[in-house]
Symmetry: C2
C-alpha cells in the first residue's frame, strides 16, 4: 500500500517526522490544557467538550512545527454568546496556563505559548455536520475526523505522504491559506495526498495534468463543482460539498506549484523541501524597496492592503513608462515592505503622447502645448516632456496619491537596493526561486 518513495523523499521524511519528544510534549501539553480548561468550565457551570484538533491531533505536523489547536466544543448557540460567555472562560484558563494573547478571526480566540509550543484555544460549536457550521471553525472537528478515517482506511503511511506534500508546499512558498500566501492549507494538503494516493501522485498530476480550472471529484461530480466554484483549483470539501477547500489558492500559488512539480518530476531534490538561504546579493537590475515602518492593523488587513498598494503602484509605474519586471511583498506584522524591480530606473526626457484622431473636435486642443507633433494613420501624436524620468520620484508621488485611500502608507521610505541581505529580499534579488 505504501507508495514507492525516492531516495530524496526517504531522506526528507527522516527530517520531517516528529521526534518522540515532540509526541510526548504534545500529549503532556494537551492533558494540562484540557484539565485547566475543564476546571474553569465546571466552575462557571458551562457545558463544553475540550478536544485536540488540527495537525497535532492528526499526527501530520512537521518536525519543529508543533502547534496545539485546542477546541472547546459548546452546544450550538450564537456568535454573541461566544464573545460574552465562552471566550471569557477560555481567557481565564489561558491566564492560568501562561501569557495569553487575544486574537481575532471570525470571533476572538486565545493563543499562548507553553514550553515553546504555541497553543491556541478556540471556542466552537458542536454541530451535527460540517454543512451546519455556525462559525467557520465548527468545521474543523469534521476535517479532523475525516482525515483520521482516511488513516484508518489507508494506513499510517498517508501521514508521511501528507508531511512530504506540506513540506514541499512550504519549501516552494505556497503553504498556507492566509492572505500573505494565498496558497494551500494543511487540510487541502491532506485531501490532495489522500485523493492522489500519496505525495508523488499529487506531484505527477500537477506536473502532467493540471491546468485551470483543475477540479477534483472529492464530494461532487465535476460539472456540479464547476457550476458552484470559481478559481484555478476546485476541491469540494469532503465534509461539506458547499465549500471549495481550495478557495484560497491564487493563480500564482497554483501555477507555482505546477512549475515546481514539473521541475521536481524531472529532477527531484531536497532543495524543494528545504530551499537554501540565499546569500546576500547585489541586484542585477535596478531594485527599490518601499518600507512602511509602523502598522496599525491586524495581519490579514495589512497583507490585503499591501497587495492592493503594490499592484496599484506597479500599474501606475507601468502607465508612466517604467517597465516593472516583478515585485515582492514582506511583512512581519509590525512593518511591511514592497520590493520592485525595473528594467530601467531612469527614462528618457521625452515620451510620445497619443492624441485624438485628426478629425476629432479635440484635435486642436491636443496640439496646443506640444513642441512637436505628427499624424500617423489618422491619429495625432506628439512628443512631450516626461513627468517622471526617475523611478524613485515616480514611486514617491504615486504613493502620495494612494495614501489617501490606505491605512498603511504613513511615513513610507523608498530606497534603492545596493545589497540585499534580508532573506526575502536576497531571494527576490537573486531572480529565481531558491528551489529551482
Amino acid at each position: 500500500m505504501t507508495p514507492s518513495r525516492s531516495e530524496v523523499e526517504r531522506e526528507v521524511l527522516e527530517e520531517l517526522r516528529p521526534t518522540r519528544e515532540e509526541v510526548r510534549l504534545r500529549d503532556e501539553l494537551f492533558v494540562k490544557t484540557k484539565s485547566v480548561l475543564e476546571d474553569v468550565l465546571k466552575k462557571r457551570g458551562l457545558e463544553g467538550e475540550v478536544t485536540l484538533q488540527g495537525s497535532a491531533r492528526k499526527g501530520t505536523w512537521l518536525r519543529g512545527s508543533l502547534e496545539l489547536d485546542v477546541f472547546v466544543l459548546f452546544p450550538p448557540k450564537d456568535k454573541e454568546w461566544i464573545k460574552e460567555v465562552a471566550f471569557p472562560a477560555l481567557l481565564e484558563a489561558a491566564r492560568a496556563l501562561g501569557e495569553p494573547e487575544v486574537r481575532f478571526a471570525e470571533h476572538p480566540y486565545v493563543r499562548t505559548v507553553i514550553k515553546g509550543v504555541p497553543v491556541e484555544i478556540v471556542p466552537a460549536f458542536k454541530v451535527r455536520s460540517a454543512s451546519e457550521a455556525i462559525t467557520a471553525v465548527d468545521r474543523t472537528p469534521f476535517h479532523t475526523e475525516w482525515f483520521l478515517q482516511q488513516v484508518r482506511a489507508l494506513g499510517d503511511w498517508i501521514r508521511d505522504e501528507v508531511r512530504l506534500l506540506k513540506a514541499f508546499m512550504k519549501g516552494i512558498g505556497v503553504y498556507g491559506a492566509e492572505i500573505a500566501v494565498q496558497g494551500f492549507s494543511g487540510f487541502l494538503c491532506e485531501v490532495l495526498a489522500t485523493y492522489y494516493k500519496g505525495f508523488r501522485g499529487v506531484i505527477e498530476a500537477a506536473a502532467r495534468e493540471w491546468r485551470p480550472p483543475t477540479v477534483l471529484e472529492t464530494s461532487l461530480p465535476k460539472e456540479e463543482a464547476l457550476k458552484r466554484f470559481e478559481g484555478p483549483l476546485v476541491v469540494p470539501d469532503p465534509t461539506d460539498p458547499k465549500r471549495n477547500a481550495a478557495a484560497a489558492v491564487s493563480l500564482n500559488a497554483y501555477s507555482t506549484f505546477i512549475i515546481a512539480s514539473k521541475l521536481y518530476s524531472v529532477k527531484p531534490s531536497k532543495k524543494f523541501f528545504f530551499p537554501p538561504k540565499p546569500a546576500p546579493a547585489r541586484p542585477v537590475l535596478p531594485t527599490y524597496v518601499v518600507e512602511v515602518p509602523a502598522l496599525r492593523a491586524p495581519p490579514e488587513t495589512v497583507w490585503g492592503e499591501l497587495r492592493r498598494v503594490a499592484k496599484s503602484l506597479v500599474k501606475n509605474l507601468r502607465s508612466l513608462g517604467f517597465e516593472v519586471t516583478r515585485f515582492a511583498l514582506w511583512s512581519d506584522g509590525s512593518a511591511a515592505k514592497i520590493a520592485l524591480e525595473f528594467l530601467q530606473d531612469s527614462l528618457p526626457e521625452w515620451e510620445v503622447a497619443k492624441g485624438p484622431p485628426a478629425w476629432s473636435p479635440h484635435a486642436l486642443r491636443f496640439l496646443r502645448d506640444k513642441e512637436s507633433w505628427w499624424v500617423d494613420e489618422g491619429r495625432l501624436f506628439a512628443r512631450r516632456k516626461r513627468k517622471y524620468t526617475e523611478a524613485k520620484s515616480a514611486i514617491a508621488d504615486i504613493l502620495k496619491k494612494l495614501k489617501a485611500k490606505s491605512l498603511i502608507l504613513e511615513n513610507s521610505k523608498i530606497e534603492r537596493v545596493e545589497l540585499a541581505e534580508e532573506r526575502w529580499l536576497a531571494e527576490f534579488v537573486s531572480g529565481r526561486p531558491p528551489w529551482s
Copy 2:
C-alpha cells in the same frame, strides 16, 4: 458668385496666377508640338487628334509649374497597337522637338523639355465616354471637358479657387496621387473646389465635417458609393461613377489635410501655401538615416518598396523594444533615404521574455536557458539578455534580413544625424509640420 476671400488668400492668389508670359508660352509650345505631331501622323498615315489636356488646357496650373500634357487621341484599338504603332510616331515627333525621355505608366509615353517647360506627349484612345476607357489616360479628355464645363457654368473665378486648393495641398505636402505622396490629384482638387463652391468651402468642410469615410455625392448616392468604394475619402468620378477619384488618398494624407484645414480655419496664414524652408537643425531625439545610394527601378516601384521597407523596419525595431516615434521617406529617383526618430537609441542590457503558462508542456523548455524567471498570474516570465542594445546595429541586421526580398537595399548606409541640412530632413528633425 465669387466666394469671399481673406486677405491671405488674395495675397496668395497674386503669386499663384500664371503670368501673361506663361500663358503665351503655353500657346506657343502647344502650336509647335501640335504641328510637329500632325506632320508625323500624316507622314505615317495615322489618324490622330492632337489635343492639349491637363492643367495647361484647363488654365489651373500654378505660376512656375507650367507643364504641357499633349494627348494624341487615336480611334480605339488595343494596347499592343499603342506600343507598336502609335508610340513610335510620338517618339519621332518628340525627337524633332527636343531631347525625348521615354517613360512608362500603363503604356509608354514621351517626355521632353522645351524652353524649360516639360511637355509630355501621351497616346490615348478617343472613346465615347469615360467609363469606356481602354487605358487609364483615355479618361483625361473627359476630365478636361468636365472641368471646362464647370468654368462655363460657374465662372472664371473657380480657376482661382482650384489654384488656392492645389497650392494649399502642395504646401502641406499632400498634393499628388503618385505613390510618393498618396495624396490629392489635380483633378480631385478641381472636383473638390467645384463641389464645395470654392477653396474655403473645402477647408471648412474638412475642418468641421470630414471624418472617415467621407463621401461626396458627385455622381452616385452616398449608400451606393459606400458599397462600391473603400478608403477614407470617396469621391465618385463625375465622368465615371465606377471610379473613385480619391482612391489614391491615404489615411495619412486625408488626416493631414483635415488637421491643416482646422489650423488654417483658426489662423489663416501664407505658411500653409508657402511653407518656410526649415533652417538646418540638430535633432532633439536620436535620429538615424538609412541611405540606399543606387536604385535600379522606376520611381513608382522605388517609392512603393521604400514605404514597405520603412514600415517593416519600424515594425521590427518596435518588436525589439526600440520606441520609434516617426519616420520619413525621401527619394530623388536615383537614391532613397529613410529617416527614423527614436525615443532612445540605446536600450538596457536586459529585457523581459514572456513565456508559456506554467501548465504548458513547453514550460520547462522556456526556463532552460534563463538566468532569472518568475511566475505571474499563471504565466512564466524571464529576464534575458537583449539581442540589440544599440539602434544602429538593430537597423543594420534588420536591413540584412529584409534585403533578400528587396530591390533597393543594396549597399545601404546607416548614419546618426548630427545636423540635418537637407530640406526634407531638416523638416523631419524640426519635429512639426513647417506650416503649423
